[in-house]
Symmetry: C2
Subunit: 526 residues, 2 copies
């Protein structure tokens, strides 16, 4: 397999030379209508990916196809799901997709069939959740647990939290909310204190999530919870479970009701599909809802195998993103879901994308001379329209936009004001924004002038359900993976987080000098 830097590819040189697209022109009139109808690809979970308003032409798409072929993106994905150690820096396989389906060959680690291992963990989680819901696992008073609290940080928090919030209201109206979930993540003592302040601790189960079993924030917050349980006269070992690796100090420890396992082949930011997401979501919504999320993700993973970029929304989204980043020079991408339920989905994507592809060396550890991952941010529409959209429309940098929209609300409650429902207003706004961003508007007064040419795509579905949510999750994971392959970087390590950890330990052991000493004084640490 070829592993070449982006700028070494012949197709990349061609891409630089390709005629730029005049987005306002092609998105106007009949041409615009044709683009919206034609530039639309089915996704998993009943979603579709519409890229009419991205700055691509047939010529550019052809070159992106060449680039995909030249960089062997399809073969690299295949290598990944067949268990090749594509996480070169750490010499690890990358197996989150095995949690949701068997995409290729069986994958073994020594004698262990990894798919079987992940499925077994899911079965154990489902069994445990069933016992909690069914009243076999009860608190000391023999009462049912009503709340589950996840204690974890980074990937053990952002993904599971975003998914929980995405489905909490859906679950309420569909009678699927078995337990309310809360989350403790920050080492800020006020985070744990505030959550514990509100939790009915007697009826709460706590999940400690740490792969190594040594994450400082998580262990600290665990001890907050243990203190609170003891103060309430409760036995912590009857209220806690662990999600960790089999070799960690948390594994099989009698201090927990049970422990469920992930491993080093699933990075934190990709771990929502493992027990990290599985335990809390199965407890909150029931195992069958978690299975539906996985089924939607698995559908998307299969679609991502297609080497025809025009039929593979994950690959195409990735390649257009690279075009926007490296040829057009756009530094940031915004994620704008028109769904309040997706309020924390952008925060998850921020980690997924920026931690995976915020790299300056290639997969062999050699410095590279081109831009990699952009900054990712976003808030739900229509809220964002009344906030930062001013800059998106009229600012001095172009920010490509990734919209998400649904035809129906989750809760089905609506009102008609001025002849339309709120859901129609919501959808009308996202339709309007795409066209406004793409086409702009001339005006004699430059202050009222919109240049247009603001790139966007939209993912559309009937409703945000477990299945469509799973496909959405997998779409972005796969997009990030394909971009990493395109940039020839390792999307699965995170060496950039190490230095801060080392220096924080120095501060806590008072082994500092220079600026570090002075900042420590300024902050009142010593």
């Amino acid at each position: 397999m070829r592993w070449e830097n982006l700028t070494q590819l012949k197709s990349y040189s061609k891409l630089k030379e390709a005629a730029r697209v005049d987005v306002p022109a092609v998105m106007s009139g009949e041409s615009g209508a044709e683009r919206v109808k034609g530039y639309d690809i089915p996704m998993g979970g009943g979603l579709e990916f519409n890229y009419a308003a991205r700055p691509v032409s047939e010529e550019i798409l052809d070159i992106l196809q060449e680039l995909s072929d030249e960089q062997e993106l399809g073969a690299k994905y295949e290598a990944l799901y067949n268990g090749e150690r594509v996480n070169t820096g750490e010499n690890r396989m990358v197996l989150h997709q095995l949690c949701r389906g068997q995409l290729g060959n069986d994958v073994f680690d020594g004698n262990v069939n990894k798919r079987e291992f992940f499925v077994e963990q899911q079965r154990r989680v489902a069994e445990f959740a069933g016992k909690v819901h069914g009243g076999e696992i009860l608190n000391e008073k023999g009462e049912k647990f009503t709340t589950v609290v996840q204690i974890g940080i980074g990937g053990s928090d952002l993904g599971p939290r975003a998914l929980y919030l995405s489905l909490e209201n859906w679950a309420k109206v569909n009678d699927k909310l078995k337990m309310k979930a809360q989350f403790i993540s920050n080492v800020d003592p006020d985070d744990a204190t505030a959550v514990l302040y509100n939790v009915d601790i007697e009826h709460a189960l706590f999940i400690i999530v740490s792969k190594s079993g040594t994450t400082l924030e998580t262990l600290t917050n665990e001890s907050f919870v243990k203190d609170a349980l003891k103060k309430a006269g409760l036995d912590p070992s009857k209220h806690m479970l662990a999600v960790t690796s089999e070799t960690s100090p948390l594994a099989g420890n009698p201090e927990y009701l049970d422990s469920f396992y992930m491993d080093d082949y699933i990075g934190g930011r990709y771990s929502s599909s493992s027990s990290v997401g599985g335990a809390v979501l199965s407890l909150a919504f029931g195992p069958e809802v978690f299975e539906e999320i996985m089924a939607g993700a698995a559908e998307e993973d299969v679609i991502a195998k297609n080497t025809d970029i025009r039929k593979n929304p994950d690959l195409l989204d990735a390649l257009i993103g690279v075009y926007e980043r490296n040829i057009l020079g756009y530094p940031v991408t915004a994620v704008l879901p028109y769904s309040q339920a997706l309020s924390r989905f952008p925060a998850h994507l921020q980690q997924l994308d920026m931690e995976s592809n915020g790299k300056s060396v290639n997969r062999f550890g050699e410095p590279i001379d081109y831009k990699t991952g952009p900054v990712i941010f976003g808030e739900p529409g229509t809220n964002g329209q009344h906030s930062f959209y001013q800059l998106l429309h009229q600012g001095t940098d172009i920010i490509p936009l990734q919209f998400v929209g649904f035809r129906n609300s989750q809760m089905g409650n609506d009102v008609i004001i001025e002849d339309s429902t709120s859901q129609q207003k919501l959808s009308a706004n996202v339709a309007a924004q795409i066209v406004a961003f793409a086409c702009g508007k001339a005006d004699e007064n430059p202050n009222k002038c919109f240049a247009g040419s603001r790139s966007s795509s939209i993912i559309v579905g009937d409703q945000l359900t477990p299945k469509s949510l799973g496909a959405l999750l997998a779409h972005f994971e796969n997009k990030v993976m394909f971009q990493g392959f395109t940039w020839n970087i390792n999307s699965f390590d995170q060496e950039g987080v190490q230095l801060g950890k080392v220096l924080a330990k120095k501060v806590l052991s008072k082994n500092t000098d220079g600026a570090l000493t002075e900042y420590s004084k300024l902050l009142g640490i010593f």
Copy 2:
């Protein structure tokens, strides 16, 4: 007064020529310690602004001082608070600071002394809140109200929500939480439905916030609430109040218990200091807490009058930001509060900054040829460390960082693990991050190499209290204002939000063609 484009200034040419600072060098060893001690300015509310790790030298600071003088930034601020119509596009004064103090001359609009007007609204809000808390204003059953729900979007939502969340836990432990506050903003029908699902509606007061009284999202959500009240057998006029302008249809309307006023001289994103923030925060925490927030902001506003940039943290932060944006070419700024209570403060700053300074024309409506406002994003630390910090440390763009930290937690509950409290761990992490970002670390393996030179500053305080929060709010408002003056743009209009509104109306009236029709079909609107 001179109103010149940035690139026309002599000092700007000098700035381009100034020697760049080698941040890793100056931040190392004794030099670094001296910078941390020396580059520190007192702020309002007991805060301090430390800019040791920003890429400035004495030479650059001298030129920034020249730039401030040449662009007459102090005089422009003076003109603003003395009531000059600096919002040129809309021919309006900019008076949010008058809500918190009298900085200069009395300001009149016709015969109305505007400071007296704002103070009177605050007095009326305080009186109303006192009656609610004291049991003079009760629900139909003669019971006390326990919850307040703000219905507003953009500036009527983000600022007040961020401030409420900033103090909710502080209020709980200091016996100041009079009423729990919730917020409905999005036109997504699930937003209102979900909030109403959880609210004890019989004991809830709803504040409708819309300056014009015509904001579609807000009126739609109001009708959701009215429906819910009626369904519960309650009289909406006994549960609702309005914050609006005196000329709006909501003003003095018998459908509300009362109405409180702002005006066109306070933009939405600057309106937390007006009744928009005052009503909900006074009801939630009591009027004296809101007064404390305003007192902290007023202190900062006074400090912002100093024309010596080395003694004015708001002005200096603004100027260094312009240096980073226009000379060093950094496209994004991250806001990273090491305080879970500030979890939504970055979302407020995102609106404040991006809506104010995301402009491509100068204050006279003429196109400009230099970069203006950057993208703003952020999440609380330490959470961000386990998420997007990878890109901040090792990505291919440098992102300047604005840290915020406190010496003490708000709730005072803590545990000692491995010889340190959680609060010490939190502070140790922010100290470590600043040094890691600034100094970096060499390594034979480029994948473990940190280039450093990542600019940051930190605002430090003893504790996040109403007063320090007010100063923090005003700091960023003033920074944004000074940057707008520096760029010679109007930070107080938002023409960029208009086109989307017009097109959304077209969709809802089915008056569409081309791409807009097709997107409307795709989204199932028609």
